[in-house]
Structure formats: structure tokens, C-alpha cells
């Protein structure tokens, strides 16, 4: 059972149903039913043409649903009344699905789950597990999202930035349970890049690959976090890095810099360094400056302070930090790190403990507590 094939076929099959006159919500439900049916039966009897099989089964499901609906409500005409769809290629259809699922009328959380189901081809159960909510809750969230975009025409032009933000959110959720959201985000970005030639799409894909390449080295066997400087760089995935760097270079050559390309450039500089000491921190700071000009996200300046602390010394980092809002997430952790680099171990230990109290994940809290413990027990 080739699940990746099934998932890749989800958007084109949904689009075909819509072109035949199905509404998006009905088409999406029908395709979801067909996917479940495929998972159940393909191992026993694999179809010769998987896509045609899915279209046939999904279309039949759609008609069944319409008939049982119309039996109750007499809405048979709804299908016939659909406007004649224009001649569009399958490729454009898939792209339109991305736009629809990331539509600005959706909340980010709704856009994410709708994208994962309608474009990613994940089942409601899988999406629910990935976000650790009950399946019934997730089913409701998805159907509400579909109602929200019910009136949006599938051929309306969309903004690629909204799609990229959704994929970035999926990627950042990382890994919980049986669905690897980071890998799924990469797959969706890859698929999007086939549909759409845009330097920020390549930039986002590069950024994801460059971060994903470091994943194995980011946690110790006991589950604790390993900071970038201490990661075993021999465990980095060099193929993913090479692909990310190549994508980034091609994107930068188009001379339309954007947020994701700038972030990817920073990730590439880290990936390029054989050791933490060999990192080109001056260039990293320059890229943070570029990034700060592109976005008003204050976390960029926080990260810039860290980079500056490496490029020009911890005092420079602390000076840059002093200009920022203390209530920023990780502010205290960054200050602790810079104080430690500056040799003020007592203050650093105290700040690490405070930062641990403010952490918003267990892994981060444990990591920061360990940092405090390391300095406290060394001082004893």
C-alpha cells in the first residue's frame, strides 16, 4: 500500500470532482471516503490506474451523498445548477486547492487542518492525532473550515504568502504521534514548487530541508534538547543540506528576496560550518539585518542579538539585547546564555532558572533547568 502515492493523488482527484460540478466540501468528503476505501482494499486488489480508481469511487460516493441528501431535502437541482467549469489543467487545480485551504477568511488553525486533509490527503484521525485532540473535535474543525470557504470560487487567484505561512506552521509543529508533520510540510512544499515557480516557495522548502537535516542531532538519546553549538554535525543529513543550499542559491539568483529565503540563508550558514566555531557569524548577523528589514517579528532581533554575541562578543550581544522588550519569549534564556559567555556564571545560573520557569515546552524547561544545574554544580 503506497500511502505517499495516495496522498499525492488527493488534490488532483478532489479538483477533478470539483470540475465535474461537485462543491468543494462535498468533493473533499467524497475523496476522503475513497481514500479510506483505498487503504482498505488496495493491498488485496491494487488498481491498474490508481487515479482513475479514486476518481470513480469518489464520484460515486459524491453522487450517493447528493442523492441521500436530496431524498431528504429535495436538492437534486443543486448539482445541475453548478456553473460550467472553465477549461483548466490539473496542475492549476492543485494550486487552487492550496490557495483555497489557506484562504484569508480561515483562522490559521483551520487553514492548517484543512490543508493537511484536502491537500495532504491525511485522514481526520491522523490530523487529530498529530494535534493531540479528539477525532470528533477535529472533524468539527474541518467541517467548519469547509463551511467558511464554501462560497469561495476555486478559480479565484490567491496569495502565495498565505499558503507559505500555513506550510511553515505545519512544519513548526514538528513531530508528535504517528504523523510526521515536518516531513509532511516538506512534501507539500515540494509539491507546491512543482505548481508554482516563486523564489519564496523555494526559500521555504530550502529552509525546511536545512532544519530537517539537523533533526537527528537535535535531541539526545534521553530526549533532552541539544543546542546547535553542541550538535554532532556528522549526524546532519548532508543530502538534505545540499538540496536546500541548491534551492536557496537558485532562489536568491532571481533577486526577489523574501523572509523565507533570508531565514534559509541563515540556516545554510550554520549547515555550512564544520564546527560551531567555524560559523561565519558576521554573515549571519548581516542576514538577520536583511530579515529584520523584511519582517517586524521581534524574535528576529532577539536571534540577531545571539548572533551578534558570537560575531562581536557577548557584550555586544547584551547591548543589542538591552534595546529589546524583556517580555519577549526566550529573552531571559538569551540573556543567560550571553552572561555565561561573558563569564558572569552566577547571574547566568540565576537567569537560566528564571528562564526555565517561563519556558513553554517541557523539553525547553528541562534544558534550561539543566543549564542552571550545570553552572550551579560546577561552582560548588
Amino acid at each position: 500500500m503506497d500511502e505517499s502515492l495516495l496522498r499525492a493523488l488527493t488534490p488532483p482527484v478532489t479538483a477533478i470532482l470539483v470540475r465535474r460540478g461537485a462543491d468543494f466540501a462535498g468533493a473533499e468528503d467524497a475523496v476522503q471516503d475513497a481514500l479510506v476505501e483505498a487503504v482498505r482494499t488496495w493491498d488485496e486488489s491494487p488498481p491498474r490506474d490508481p487515479k482513475a480508481w479514486l476518481v470513480t469511487v469518489a464520484w460515486r460516493r459524491f453522487l450517493d451523498a447528493v442523492r441521500s441528501e436530496s431524498a431528504r431535502r429535495g436538492r437534486e437541482e443543486a448539482v445541475d445548477d453548478e456553473p460550467e467549469p472553465g477549461p483548466v489543467s490539473g496542475r492549476d487545480d492543485t494550486l487552487q486547492l492550496y490557495f483555497l485551504c489557506a484562504h484569508p477568511s480561515l483562522t490559521p488553525a483551520s487553514a492548517v487542518v484543512l490543508t493537511l486533509r484536502a491537500v495532504g490527503g491525511l485522514t481526520t484521525r491522523q490530523v487529530a492525532r498529530a494535534y493531540l485532540v479528539p477525532e470528533a473535535t477535529m472533524a468539527q474543525r474541518i467541517s467548519r473550515a469547509k463551511r467558511t470557504v464554501a462560497g469561495v470560487r476555486l478559480d479565484a487567484p490567491g496569495d502565495v504568502a498565505t499558503v507559505l505561512r500555513v506550510l511553515y506552521l505545519v512544519f513548526n509543529e514538528g513531530y508528535s504521534g504517528d504523523v510526521d508533520l515536518a516531513a509532511e510540510a516538506i512534501r507539500l512544499a515540494r509539491q507546491l514548487r512543482v505548481e508554482l515557480d516563486h523564489p519564496e516557495v523555494s526559500g521555504l522548502l530550502a529552509l525546511m530541508l536545512l532544519h530537517h537535516a539537523r533533526r537527528a542531532s537535535r535531541t539526545a538519546p534521553d530526549g533532552s534538547l541539544v543546542p546547535l553549538a553542541q550538535q554532532d554535525r556528522s549526524r546532519w543529513d548532508t543530502d538534505a543540506i545540499a538540496e536546500g543550499v541548491a534551492l536557496l542559491q537558485a532562489a536568491l539568483a532571481q533577486d526577489r528576496l523574501g523572509e523565507f529565503q533570508a531565514q534559509a540563508a541563515i540556516a545554510a550558514l550554520h549547515a555550512d560550518a564544520r564546527s560551531a566555531e567555524e560559523t561565519d557569524w558576521v554573515q549571519v548577523v548581516e542576514w538577520y539585518d536583511e530579515l529584520a528589514a523584511l519582517t517586524d517579528n521581534p524574535l528576529v532581533l532577539l536571534n540577531r542579538a545571539v548572533a551578534l554575541g558570537e560575531a562581536d562578543g557577548p557584550r555586544a550581544g547584551l547591548a543589542a539585547l538591552a534595546a529589546l522588550d524583556e517580555s519577549l519569549p526566550r529573552y531571559t534564556a538569551v540573556e543567560a546564555h550571553l552572561r555565561e559567555r561573558d563569564g558572569d556564571l552566577a547571574t547566568a545560573a540565576r537567569l537560566y532558572a528564571v528562564a526555565a520557569e517561563r519556558a513553554d515546552s517541557l523539553a525547553e524547561r528541562d534544558h534550561l533547568t539543566r543549564q542552571a544545574a550545570r553552572l550551579n554544580s560546577a561552582g560548588r
Partner: protein, 135 residues
């Protein structure tokens, strides 16, 4: 089966025997503690008694209805609040004795010096659905 909530407190529980804040332990002692907690939860998953486990951040606020057309009133966090919950675990076990035994086991997690913390955990039975046969 009966469900129980095991509550861990930041504040408000009686002082444990081995009372030292975690940042005063060694990193290895922290690792040993984490491993103990994880092994404990894994064992309960194996026995089919684990339901859920979550950690809570220390800060929070009080919220209440403040009348028609007005935004909810918020207050706090109150520094003097005596009771502050740090996290919980829900278990589904055969008997109260089993729940007590498990809470005792969790409380023996190693702390500073590798010695058991003897942390006081609050054990609260969850209300259950009414049984079918009542007479």
C-alpha cells in the same frame, strides 16, 4: 475500573523529605529524575492504566464574567496564592489501593543526591458515570 487524578504542586503541598529546587541538582540527577518519570508512564501504558499526563506553566490568571456587554474581568496572578498546580496524571485502575500504590511509586522519583524526593502528591478520584445496575 476507576479513574484517579494525581496532582503535582509547585506550591501548597507539604514539604517533601528531599526538598531542593531542581536547578541545585547536578545535570545527571536531573536526567535520572526525568528517566524515572518516563519509565513510570511507560509502565502504566504497558499495563493499560495510563490515561493522560500534562504539565502546566506556573503563571496564570483569574477570569470571571463581569456583566452583560462587558469583557470578562481578569485578575492575578496572585503571588500569595497558596496552591499552585504543576501538572497532573490521570490513571485508570482497579482499586483505590492500586492508585495509592502508584502515587507512592511516583513520589519515590529520585531528586538531589539520587535520593527519593518523597514528594507529596494529591490523589483525587474522578466522578464516574452512573452504573447501569443500581439496585
Amino acid at each position: 475500573m476507576a479513574k484517579y487524578l494525581l496532582l503535582k504542586h509547585y506550591r501548597g503541598a507539604p514539604t517533601p523529605v528531599n526538598d531542593a529546587p531542581m536547578d541545585q541538582w547536578t545535570p545527571d540527577e536531573i536526567s535520572a529524575h526525568m528517566q524515572y518519570m518516563e519509565d513510570f508512564a511507560d509502565r502504566l501504558r504497558d499495563t493499560g492504566e495510563f490515561v493522560d499526563s500534562q504539565a502546566l506553566r506556573p503563571e496564570g490568571s483569574w477570569v470571571s464574567y463581569d456583566g452583560e456587554g462587558r469583557p470578562p474581568a481578569t485578575d492575578g496572578p496572585f503571588a500569595e496564592t497558596k496552591d499552585l498546580i504543576a501538572g497532573f496524571m490521570i490513571i485508570d485502575v482497579d482499586s483505590h489501593e492500586r492508585a495509592v500504590a502508584l502515587a507512592g511509586e511516583l513520589s519515590a522519583a529520585p531528586g538531589q543526591g539520587g535520593r527519593p524526593i518523597h514528594e507529596w502528591l494529591e490523589l483525587r478520584p474522578l466522578m464516574s458515570a452512573p452504573t447501569t445496575v443500581t439496585e
